[in-house]
């Protein structure tokens, strides 16, 4: 029926065909309404980029192998074989033209969960080794070395000590440290490997906030990576391995709360997907540092002075944290306390446009040109606010915004929530 090399894709599809996948595969009515919600279609105006068309790629295969008409008269019912041609099309559109931002699902008149289907398509491609090489390379680094940039343990420790020394000097207090592997600490914090490797100022910002709040916290050099690129590639088995690392470390150190660094998919991956990956709910609390900062402000544990940030600030909402993750008002509550001139983009919140860097796009050089092109929507949104600083709680978005900043000459500064809070903190 299908070429042997593609059989594993059908096998996993078969396993995934539980209620949700089947319903969503069968319900698209081809109205095309979702087109206007997708940055790829809005940018290129080609039919193949309409989200419903991406769904079609998968439902055509479903029809071919699971319906009587599809088996007997495939052409009549738009059923397609899984073959070199359809696989290439899937790779190009399902990896190369979707950030899994979920915006289309909100605008679909009948609620087809398009991003979920795209992910199912990616899971099929994982089984036949068709993950785009740039993306697979980051997945491999994470699985093989424990972090997605392959940072050696001793270098991580040296970097953390270096940052801690600086912080101690800045605050003139030897208690301003970054405790490593502290047993029984209340909070286990995490990092995006990009922070220690290239952009450590966000680590010192977080450390400063923890210090000001008098938090009992720790970092572990053996399990700190908040990212889970298996979520992007569609590799659920790898996703479980990565999830388990942090879960085990929390147990080993006896921490109460796992605090997720500013990372959109890291938040979603750990908070919402993680328990599914490992098939268990977590025996500890788990929140984003954004939510924790809100708690600190509400409980009076940190004081912020908005007069310390007077430039005009806007916020970019990472899809996985906001639309797909439910952290919506928290970052706004923080900014209203931390800056004196805050302006929203249009649209924003759950209706926000993706920056173009989501879904693993940042790792896929293969599609970099498309990524920069679709990012123009975000660049225009930023420009229209007149803001001088763009804040976003996601390191992945930050990297994309840095490129958009250059390409579209926005002339803005880009910061994490932690950084803008650390600038406003009164000690």
């Amino acid at each position: 029926m299908v070429e042997k090399k593609y059989q594993p894709a059908l096998d996993i599809f078969d396993k995934m065909l539980h209620g949700k996948l089947k319903t969503h595969l069968n319900s698209c009515v081809h109205c095309g309404l979702c087109g206007e919600s997708c940055l790829y279609y809005l940018t290129h105006k080609e039919d193949k980029y309409i989200p419903g068309k991406k769904v079609d790629l998968i439902s055509a295969i479903y029809r071919r192998y699971y319906t009587l008409l599809g088996k007997t008269v495939p052409k009549w019912v738009g059923a397609k074989d899984l073959n070199d041609e359809t696989v290439a099309e899937m790779v190009d559109l399902i990896y190369g033209a979707c950030t899994m931002c979920g915006r289309c699902s909100m605008h679909c008149s009948i609620g087809v969960d398009i991003a979920f289907l795209v992910r199912a398509g990616r899971s099929m491609l994982v089984e036949i080794n068709k993950v785009v090489p740039g993306l697979q390379s980051t997945v491999d680094a994470a699985l093989n070395t424990g972090n997605n940039m392959g940072i050696p343990r001793d270098e991580l420790i040296d970097t953390i000590e270096w940052i801690a020394e600086d912080l101690e000097m800045e605050l003139d207090d030897e208690k301003a440290t970054i405790p490593l592997d502290k047993k029984g600490a209340k909070v286990l914090y995490t990092l995006n490997p990009r922070e220690p490797k290239f952009f450590p100022l966000s680590i010192s910002a977080a450390a400063k906030i923890f210090y000001a709040a008098g938090e009992d916290w720790t970092l572990s050099p053996d399990a700190y990576d908040v990212t889970n690129y298996c979520y992007f590639s569609g590799d659920d088995k790898g996703g479980a391995v990565i999830t388990q690392r942090l879960v085990d470390k929390v147990a080993e150190l006896g921490c109460e709360t796992l605090v997720l660094a500013e990372c959109g998919h890291g938040f979603r991956g750990n908070r919402w997907e993680g328990p599914n990956y490992i098939n268990k709910s977590y025996p500890f609390n788990e929140i984003s540092i954004v939510e924790l900062i809100v708690e600190y402000i509400r409980e009076g544990r940190i004081k912020l002075d908005p007069a310390k940030n007077t430039k005009k600030v806007t916020i970019h909402d990472p899809c996985n944290m906001v639309r797909e993750g439910g952290v919506i008002e928290e970052q706004r509550f923080i900014l209203k306390q931390a800056v004196s001139d805050f302006v929203e983009m249009t649209p924003h919140g759950v209706n926000n446009f993706c920056c173009g860097g989501g879904g693993g796009q940042l790792a896929m050089s293969e599609y970099a040109e498309r990524r920069i092109k679709v990012g123009k929507i975000k660049a225009d949104q930023i420009r229209a606010t007149g803001a001088e600083i763009v804040v976003t709680p996601c390191h992945n978005c930050i990297d994309q915004l840095m490129e958009l900043n250059k390409e579209y000459k926005l002339n803005v500064e880009i910061k994490t929530i932690g950084e803008i809070v650390a600038d406003a903190i009164v000690i």
Binding site: T138, K197, L362, A363, M402
Partner: protein, 105 residues
């Protein structure tokens, strides 16, 4: 993959503009990439960073941590970000002819 033409010379690069054959790198390609990506004319401090990255990579087959760049060159972090507006990865490492690092960069 594609090619970029800088001052009439052609180089093969990946979609993000990193050289696909890092061994063809030389000071001229570095200057040309820097000009193209908005870093501008390379001064002594730029070169100190680029050489540090290049040497580390030749020895260990990976980009150095930013701590090592700062320590080796004596340049402070904030100044490093000013020197390379695209950051250590898409700025300095790209100019130094390294392949694109894994992760959110």
């Amino acid at each position: 993959m594609g090619t970029i033409v800088l001052d009439g010379k052609e180089f093969e690069v990946d979609g993000d503009g990193f050289l696909t054959s890092p061994e063809i790198w030389n000071e001229e390609t570095a200057s040309l990439v820097a000009k193209e990506d908005g870093t501008g004319e390379l001064n002594e401090k730029h070169w100190a960073v680029i050489n540090c990255i290049r040497e580390y990579w030749l020895e260990k087959d990976m980009a150095p941590m930013v701590r090592i760049i700062c320590k080796t060159t004596g340049i402070r972090l904030k100044e490093l970000y000013e020197l390379f507006p695209m950051g250590p990865a898409k700025g300095a490492c790209k100019i130094a002819g390294l392949p694109k690092p894994d992760g959110c960069v």
